[in-house]
Amino acid sequence: MSETIELSIESKYEFVDMVASISRDAAGRIGFDEDTSGWIELAVREALINAIKHGNKGDEGKPVDVRFVIEKEALSVYVRDRGEGFDHALLPDPLDPGNLLNPTGRGIFFMRTFMDEVEYLSHPEGGSVVRMYKGKHAS
């Protein structure tokens, strides 16, 4: 038995707060503690920002679709952009001493750190989707 919340936003950073607050409520509904809910919220924010900035290249006319699937013991979040995707294996490691002072490149690292699973998929109708999963058992 699961509950689903779906919404679509224009590619505007000011909508990130709105979706983040839904994320916090969804995590609270499952019973994640406040700290974990905060880290899930950060992962969701980073996924949205990547979708707007890198996926949709800041084109406000391109939507970002978000789906939260709330289960008894877990939260899954899907964020779809309308971009072409990219090879995540090519991302520099932000913990490499040579990269520590890079001003960018930590968003996906935060997503991977705070969620149990993060995977990238191609959407059959175009764009790419990031799927993030957080289970209560691992929090």
Binding site: L95, P103, T104, F110
Partner: protein, 115 residues
Amino acid sequence: MAQLSIKERESGNVTILDLSGKITIGEGSVQLRDEVRKLLLAEKKSILLNLGDVSYVDSSGIGELVSSYTTTSNQGGHLKLLNLTKKIQDLLMITKLLTVFETFDKEDAAIASFQ
């Protein structure tokens, strides 16, 4: 209402920026960048960022702290951090940036470290 409020004060030759609000992508990050650049242009190169009232930081905000640090260092200055919240401390820890920044819990100790 601005995402981030920045109040500037001086203690000896150290400029303290009391930050309050969010350092996130967009406005908050840009405000911090502009403020630090303004100080460097005015030859104020001993900068202490008081993060005690910062309610939220994302990867862009962390990136802006790093940029502010490198820009200041490249101009022969020093930028240090005061009053990290638990969340900011955690984020700096997992990104290994606690090895980069000098951080303080007490303002007088932070000020003294610039001398």
